[in-house]
């Protein structure tokens, strides 16, 4: 970037060009680009991130569009075709019970694995995203408030400590038993459980984000541009909106990617302990937990959801890595 056309002028022998050229600012020569274009340029260079984004996109797209392409009802019982194997098993085992009506096989009640996988993905992704967003909103809110308003710092951080020392699992189970019924009454069995899990996971996982954001805000607050903003009369909430939030975006992104993964995994752990979604409502975690018993005979039933979870988590993490780099103007600027 040091080579710009003027250099040669200055260094040219005799230096006939106006001497002031030597002191001229080295301005950026490329035409201005939009910030998001820049972000994208930087992002594209990160191979892992591109791959992560691709997988995530593929999976998200799959679970969203899937039900229209593969219209079998995931809850429909087809007891005559139970325990079918995925179509590919026919390659090495010609006796395997396979069929195109259930390309990935069916479970012990004859429910189609493929449509369950799609429906489960919808649920898991929805839980993951919603819980992640919730915890992000709480975490960022608390973190920014605590970092920015000195008076709130003490109380909010005590609150964070309190939540950190609350044992999550009992709380979770208590909440599930407590609020399941009223929520179900209002939002239906799946909707109620969804809200419950999302809320519980959300409100029990915002603390790290809050701490990180608070730390960053405290540091940013000392940066001169925040002081400058104050000196030009920017109101506190505008400072937060214009100056602080955009600058804590990258740590938030990182928490977000981790949050999505933990939410999906927490949901599956809840399912494993038997307090998750209703039994006829598939999620990846539940499929995995249910299939562990038949792992030897029907490995695909654990592998399919297991791989789906892992790929999502991996994808999200790599995506997060890339986003962090892309969103940091210092890295992007280089």
């Amino acid at each position: 970037m040091t080579d710009s056309p003027q250099d040669d002028v200055i260094l040219a022998e005799g230096a006939k060009a106006a001497p002031i050229e030597a002191l001229k600012d080295k301005g950026p020569m490329a035409p201005p680009r939009s910030k998001w274009r820049d972000v994208w340029e930087q992002f594209r260079k990160h191979k892992g991130a591109m791959m992560g984004a691709f997988f995530l996109f593929f999976i998200t797209f799959g679970v969203l569009i899937g039900p229209y392409l593969w219209t079998l009802d995931p809850q429909a019982l087809d007891i005559r075709n139970k325990d079918m194997r995925p179509i590919y098993t026919a390659i090495w085992n010609s006796e395997a019970d396979v069929g195109w009506n259930h390309p990935l096989g069916s479970d012990q009640l004859g429910r189609d694995n493929l449509s369950q996988l799609i429906a489960g993905g919808r649920a898991s992704m929805a839980v993951g995203w919603a819980a992640m967003l919730l915890s992000l909103i709480i975490g960022t809110g608390v973190g920014v408030m605590a970092g920015f308003f000195k008076k709130l710092d003490g109380p909010l951080m005590r609150l964070t400590d309190l939540f950190l020392s609350l044992p999550i699992l009992p709380l979770l189970l208590v909440a599930v038993t407590l609020f399941r019924q009223p929520l179900r009454a209002n939002f239906g069995p799946e909707g109620g459980m969804f809200i419950l899990i999302v809320t519980v996971v959300g409100i029990t996982s915002w603390m790290p984000t809050a701490r990180i954001v608070r730390g960053d805000v405290l540091a940013l607050k000392e940066r001169e541009f925040v002081l400058a903003a104050r000196s030009i009369g920017t109101q506190p909430f505008k400072i937060i909106k214009r100056h602080l939030l955009p600058n804590v975006l990258s740590p938030i992104m990182v928490s977000a990617t981790l949050g999505l993964a933990t939410a999906i995994i927490t949901e599956s752990a809840l399912s494993f302990l038997g307090v998750g979604f209703p039994s006829d409502f598939p999620t990846w975690g539940k499929m995995l937990a249910d299939a562990v018993a038949r792992m030897e005979d029907f490995p695909e039933r654990v592998l399919l959801p297991g791989v789906a979870i892992s790929l999502t988590v991996l994808g999200v993490n790599y995506l997060g890595d890339g986003l962090r780099d892309a969103l940091d103007p210092r890295i992007r600027g280089r």
Partner: protein
């Protein structure tokens, strides 16, 4: 020879938390304590009574039970010793009753000691139990794993409120059984060794035993059937295909037996509509708008393929049944009409009864009332499979079904404040399993007496879950209570069973659930017993060489 076979490993996936059945009614605790504590008599695998500490089982015939059925006289075997070497006397037996009947103690087996007026101990080996009314079945106290004999000397200071502070005694009770506790780790593992003072000098064959608890049924099954780490695994509630594939491991064998546990649908005869004011929902004040119609209940039952349910949910540990009282043979009705699924018949029946699908949405209506039901049960994998299947069938006959499952601790928790207990029955149909202790169904059948329903005035306590009310039924119950003769009792019980099942379809039995346990191929002498503790004959277990 006592102790020659070394060590036996038992796994219970629910870990025992205490060693006396009086402070816990959990099966795991009752069974664990049956290795140490013994009653006067037990039930065999066929439901017959055999004497354990008693010389013989008292009956009217042998004079042990008085003619008026108001007293029973037990005679202890001679020369019985506690594991600490002191003799077993009638005082211990009487003490056991006093211990449980102490109002402060919170005894879990209090029901066994119902109607006891007094207990006399004319001599060291004789115990006379006097009841305050005629007891056609006087074998409540001191019979079976639930009411074994405690040593008076050990528990003397543990009565009433002090019961729960006697940790040492509760964990390490002195007993007469084949084993004594070496170390009790609550909710984890119990180490036992052979009782040196066991009455049969050749038994038990094992010198030591461990009873490991915790985990899940699947892991327990694996440890016996696949890895061979354990010799006996209790109550393997697993999907049949899973169990079958594990059994291919070749290390052990699953065994099964049937008792009286019946998985059933209960029809709500009262209106659970949330539109009713609280306190009137699911009370006899409002009959159910749909289920009051016998034809609907009948059609619902006809739509169910019990054979398939059994195959999917229980495999060899279940058999389809139409009876509330499936056993013992004396009391079991021969009703089998429901066993074949008849979807067409069900549809026709509904059609006939005026439930027709007039608007073509697949759901039948009558008088503007949609045939739509809320079907609830506790959270449990097999029950949810059942729900899914039954919902499917009911949909086929034009009955809209909403499923709901409630955490079992809430569902069975009995908290009057919770709307989700099975007693409150804020649903149209619910599914659970129940059974009766011992072999006599009288008290079981009595649950469905008119007036015994859970209601606000009784804090929603009461066992007549369906809010069933039938004069004929109540009259038969009165007769049963007065009848001592067994064959006569059997007749009446069958009639009662038929009234509540096939004649009114109030209770729709689905599956007679047996027990599946597994033992390793090297463990001999296992006789699975559903009428008593599974470990009832642990003294007879031995090692098969090979």
């Amino acid at each position: 020879e006592r102790g020659e076979d070394g060590h036996v490993n038992i796994i219970y996936w629910q870990a025992p938390s205490i060693m006396t059945p009086y402070l816990s009614s959990g099966t795991k605790d009752i069974e664990a304590s049956s290795l140490v504590l013994e009653p006067l008599g037990r039930y065999t695998e066929t439901g017959e009574l055999v004497p354990y500490l008693a010389e013989e089982i008292p009956t009217v015939e042998n004079g042990g039970v008085s003619e008026d059925l108001k007293s029973i006289t037990w005679k202890l075997k001679e020369g019985l010793l506690w594991s600490d070497g002191s003799p077993v006397t009638s005082a211990d037996v009487k003490f056991t009753a006093d211990y449980c009947m102490d109002p402060e103690g919170g005894c879990a087996q209090l029901a066994k000691f119902d109607h006891i007026a007094s207990i006399d101990t004319p001599d060291d080996l004789t115990v006379v139990v006097n009841f305050d009314e005629a007891m056609p079945n006087p074998y409540g106290p001191f019979m079976g794993g639930q009411s074994p004999i405690l040593q008076k000397a050990q528990f003397e200071s543990c009565t009433g409120a002090a019961a729960s502070t006697c940790t040492e005694a509760n964990f390490n009770p002195i007993g007469t059984g084949p084993f004594v506790v070496d170390e009790f780790k609550p909710n984890d593992v119990i180490s036992l060794s052979a009782n040196p003072n066991y009455r049969d000098p050749a038994k038990p064959a094992f010198a030591t035993a461990t009873l490991k608890g915790g985990g899940d049924a699947e892991a327990a099954a694996r440890a016996v059937l696949q890895t061979g780490e354990f010799d006996y695994a209790w109550n393997l509630q697993l999907a049949p295909d899973v169990l079958a594939s594990m059994a291919e491991g070749g290390q052990g064998t699953p065994v099964s037996a049937f008792g009286t546990l019946v998985e059933r649908l209960e029809m709500n005869m009262t209106d659970p509509s949330p539109d009713l004011p609280e306190g009137e929902r699911s009370t006899v004040a409002h009959p159910h708008p749909i289920l009051s119609d016998f034809n609907v209940r009948k059609a619902l039952s006809m739509a169910i393929d019990r054979g398939l349910l059994t195959e999917i949910g229980y495999g060899q540990a279940g058999r389809p049944t139409c009876n509330l009282v499936p056993a013992p043979a004396l009391y079991a009705s021969d009703n089998e009409e429901c066993l074949t699924q008849d979807l067409e018949g069900a549809k026709a029946l509904l059609e006939e009864a005026g439930w027709t699908d007039s608007d073509g949405d697949g759901v039948r209506e009558k008088d503007g009332m949609k045939l739509s039901l809320l079907y609830q049960t506790s959270t449990n994998a097999v029950r949810q499979d059942f729900q899914a299947l039954i919902k499917d069938w009911w949909n086929q006959i034009g009955v809209e079904t909403e499923l709901r499952n409630v955490d079992s601790s809430v569902f069975f928790g009995g908290d009057p404040g919770s709307p989700d207990t099975f007693q409150k029955f804020y649903a149209d149909v619910e599914m659970y399993a129940n059974n009766f202790d011992g072999t006599d169904p009288q008290s079981y059948l009595q649950m469905y007496r008119c007036g015994n329903e859970p209601k606000p005035s009784s804090q929603w306590q009461g066992e007549n879950i369906n809010r069933f009310c039938n004069e004929e039924y109540d009259a038969l119950l009165d007769e049963l209570a007065k009848t001592g003769e067994l064959s006569k009792r059997g007749e009446i019980a069958k009639q009662l069973n038929d009234i509540i099942t096939k004649e009114t379809m109030t209770i729709v039995p689905l599956v007679d659930r047996g027990r599946v346990s597994a033992h390793s191929n090297t463990l001999g002498g296992v006789v699975l017993n559903t009428w008593d503790s599974e470990l009832w004959n642990a003294a007879d277990w031995y090692r098969i060489d090979g």
